[in-house]
Amino acid sequence: MNDVHFDDTLDTKGLNCPMPVVKARKKVGELDNGQVLRILSTDRGSIKDFQGWAKIAKNVELLAQETETENGDEIYVHFVQKTS
């Protein structure tokens, strides 16, 4: 497990594209600059999606991504920082 510091967690488990990114975008809007959001997802496509979001959006940075296993299901964890 990564030891990235985070300020809030968003659970998008069970949700499919594009909802993890859309919900994360909404949640990031509520954060202060510099704060980090941890997003949990079961969507395999979310790995590339969060990379794509961070590449295009000017106000977020993707700090880390990891995969955890929960009851046999893979959970994809993304750490996104609001930069401006």
Partner: protein, 192 residues
């Protein structure tokens, strides 16, 4: 007033002001450069019909030959283009129905017009062969050789219940944000 300052009309421009302006300009140029499209092309392959998919791969191979970075995003019927076999394992009733009615490999793809239960597709393949046009399968192999990136839409794969072992290897699993990251930096975007 120092030596390096310039007076034009009644305005004095100091070196400091110029340096500041230069810095602002440099930052703006950097922003503009970042937002310029790259030598890229992004294709959405939504259709699963031989003629349309052929068009997509002719363009993909052509663009790769011209030195463009090509990414193809396969979604809905387009996923049938990536299938190497059919399987009913672990599928719901509707997914099974869809699976049975869908092509198991590219060789079973129909044509969008005059298909006549597959006769049209066979005819088109024969006509292409007669004119020395590569088959769809050759074109797909060529595009992989040319380094074309193939992204499979995870959401539509999940909805249609297409299993991983039904799809060819070497695909990237992605969603709309991953595709947009490619397409927003591309000069050309096509929805086929």
């Amino acid at each position: 007033m120092s030596v390096s300052d310039v007076t034009s009309g009644d305005k004095t421009v100091t070196l400091e002001m110029l340096q500041e302006q230069l810095l602002t300009l440099e930052q703006r140029v950097e922003q503009v450069e970042e937002s310029l499209p790259e030598d890229k092309i992004a294709l959405i392959v939504f259709s699963g019909e031989l003629d349309k998919v052929l068009a997509a791969f002719v363009i993909a191979n052509g663009a790769a030959a011209l030195g463009q970075e090509v990414s193809m995003f396969f979604t809905f019927w387009g996923l049938n283009v990536l299938k190497k076999k059919g399987s009913l394992a672990g599928k719901s009733v509707f997914q099974k129905m869809m699976s049975v009615m869908s092509p198991d490999t590219t060789t079973e793809l129909p044509v969008s017009k005059m298909n006549y239960f597959g006769v049209g597709a066979k005819m088109l393949r024969k006509m292409m062969q007669d004119k020395n046009v590569d088959s769809l399968e050759d074109m797909i192999a060529m595009s992989r050789e040319m380094g074309v990136t193939m992204l499979a839409c995870e959401m539509s794969r999940d909805v249609m219940g297409i299993n991983d072992d039904e799809l060819v290897e070497g695909l990237e699993r992605a969603g709309v944000a991953a595709f947009l990251a490619e397409s927003l930096r591309s000069r050309t975007n096509l929805f086929i």
